[in-house]
Amino acid sequence: MPRPTDPPAGRRSTDRAHAGVIETKLAPHRLPHGSVSRPALLEQLRHGRDRALTLVSAPAGFGKTTLLTEWVTTDRERVFAWVTLDASDAEPVRLWTNVIASVAARRLSVGVGSLPALRTNPDRVADAVLPILFDELAAVGEVVVILDDFHLASNSVVNAQVEAFLRYRPAQVQLVIATRADPSLGVARLRASGELVEIRADSLRFDESELASFFDGMGVKGLTPSDQRRLAERTGGWPAPLRLAALLIPADDPASFIDSFTGGSRQVVDYLTRDVLDLLEPQTRDFLLQVSVLSRLSGALCDAVVDTTGSGAVLADLERSNLFVSVDSAGEWYQEHQLFAEALRLELARTRPELVPVLHRRAAAWFEAAGDRETATDHAIAARDVPTASRLVAAQVQLMASTGRASTTRRWLCALSWPEAERDPELAFVRAVAASLDNRVDLAIGYLDLARTGPPDQMDAAGLPLAFRADFMESLVGVTQVGRAEAAGLRAVASAPSSGWEGIALAGVGQALYLQGRTSEAVDVLRRAIGQIPDANPIMLAIGFANLGLAESALDVPSRADPKLDELAGQLSAIGAERSPAGALVHLALGERDRRNGDLRGAADQFGLTIEILGAGPRTAWLANAYLLLAAVHRDLGDPAAAMADIDHANETLDRLPDAGNLRDRSARLAEQLVAPVRRASEFGEQLTDREMDVLRLAAAGLGQRQIAGQLFISYNTVKSHLKTSYRKLGATSRDEAVAKFALLEVGPNGIDGSAASPG
């Protein structure tokens, strides 16, 4: 068996940092002093080795974590991968990154394939990531995966994935879940089929002998067996109040304490908020109350939050006194026992409510300086600090969207739901960005309107004014209302703070002009745009060049974009943006390039790809445009049925768009051309057949005979034969003459006009 060694830095730690992995959660804390050894329960845990699920389910304070910690520290031959879950692990990418990182800390080869798979397929954990993880696990022998506090991370998406894990994992992986509430993982079914080992509250209660060792271990002397029995009865063997009692029993007069403890009916949490806190010096009490806003504590962090020094020593003392504080194996990060933390928070809210936002603000600042923006954001929101929260979310929204972690962004934006936050213009801009990344165009436009109510010159972290940002975003993204998009783009151009940004704004204007059929204007604007957009912005470059390619193709001239398109497609792939709207536009432009070069099949393939990418999103003018371009190509390939189907798809979208530029006109014209009776060569004699028309059409487009054969899937000889016959029917003696006569036939009722997307 390979020996565990230190995990490597570098690539893997980047994945982990991006997914918010917090190292101290990946190992159990040290055992509390005086904890009772429970060999019978350990034996039960070991029996879970051959079962699908080992479940430890009981309310707070029953010693679940303590039991599992004892197992991990005493069972030296087994390999354990521990994760302490919290509310932010309800997001799948973060949860699974934690699980994989925990196993990888002990078995290096795990994660090599599964972490990248998680990064590229964040929405397909069960079918694209878990199989790779299972292969990696199968290769490394036995391992026990422990998920502590599962109830905090549980939701329907996570539950489905965990259920898949426990069903299909390799046999040598034991899954252990500790939770306060039974998870919805088909537990009843597992129980019925004998695939479940469960340890519940009743098993976790102390029996008499355990009680005796417990008090011994806590250093409580002088309790008679009858004292102990009374305590056992009163608490039902529930460890949490027993620890309380052990702390509070005065050495000189245990009896009267026990009397009041067993006689009364005060709740544990009541004792925690009064008696336990009364045990402490006022300074320590204050300290604990203030740091209760934190879910994990370190000396440095507490110093910052409480605005003091020496917190490290205070925490160490508290841990040694067994005051419901535990510490991790490195002795750096502490955690309060949950019931205690709840009690402290209540007490703080009751006695010093005005301090709570101040404490959260300090915590947010500390975490941000320490490089943990995610935890900083949680605290900024808890502090109701809208500007800070807005800045932090804005800085993370793109990265989270591209790594499949958008649900965390959504959670934050949902939490920012009090009136001031809902009205805040900067935050509205962030909401617009998140909505557009989620392909919710009309929602984004609505938020941009709200953003524009803010001071126009207000800068973001990159120094861009708010009004400019709102305008240029709308011009690029707002392709459901093209006229508005153009107006927004023009405003952005007028207020652009630099030539590079002006270029980006010009691209938005150019796009809107193209969609309105103002093709020559679009070409002028876009040629300017591409000269100004910085190279460091491949997405904007792609949008600029693709639009230029489309506009110049509509004019049927070779495009300056032609040589750049392949390179841009590559750049987009490199940053994982090949399936973004920019990527779709590049395919559209590539398709038009193919069409101009006579490769109609290639064009149809490219348009098909565009439609596949865009079809997953909302209906926009882009999708309709793609269908119309495809319709024209299908028509030229001699497949009018397909062309009509494309036009129908385009119209489905167009019917829903408030303002789709001139796309409706183009759609109508294409439909007419397809339906209009084609004037046959009756004045020249025999009528041309459909197939002969198809061949002539391609010949008129400049294709050679072999190319025509390839496009129409017929043989070269058949093409020659069709051409010969059609020359005869047209009374032409050369190809040029045939093409000229054919052109006269093909002029439909609307003529050929320069704003059509393809030659008519």
Binding site: Q267, T273, R274, L339
Partner: protein
């Protein structure tokens, strides 16, 4: 589902200092039990309060909800 008039009973006695802890519910103590009475906006808020009690290690003995004024209805006991 609209506003509810809610009564939750937990075992054990909670000190008055917990009075402000539960979403505007009023706290009273009698016979070794603690009662929380008051209006809640909807089921989601009720679930939130029950969760909070669970997190505090309190055992819920009963809860009754009655639709708020304006609706005819009985109580549904848990």
């Amino acid at each position: 589902m609209g506003p509810l008039a809610c009564t939750i009973v937990v075992s054990g006695e909670l000190d008055q200092r917990f009075g402000a802890a539960f979403e505007g519910l009023e706290l009273s103590v009698a016979d070794g039990m603690t009662r929380l009475d008051g209006p809640l906006a909807d089921q989601a808020q009720l679930q939130g309060v029950l969760h909070q009690l669970f997190d505090l290690g309190l055992d819920v003995v009963s809860f009754t909800t009655v639709p708020a004024i304006g609706e005819v209805g009985g109580a549904s006991s848990a």
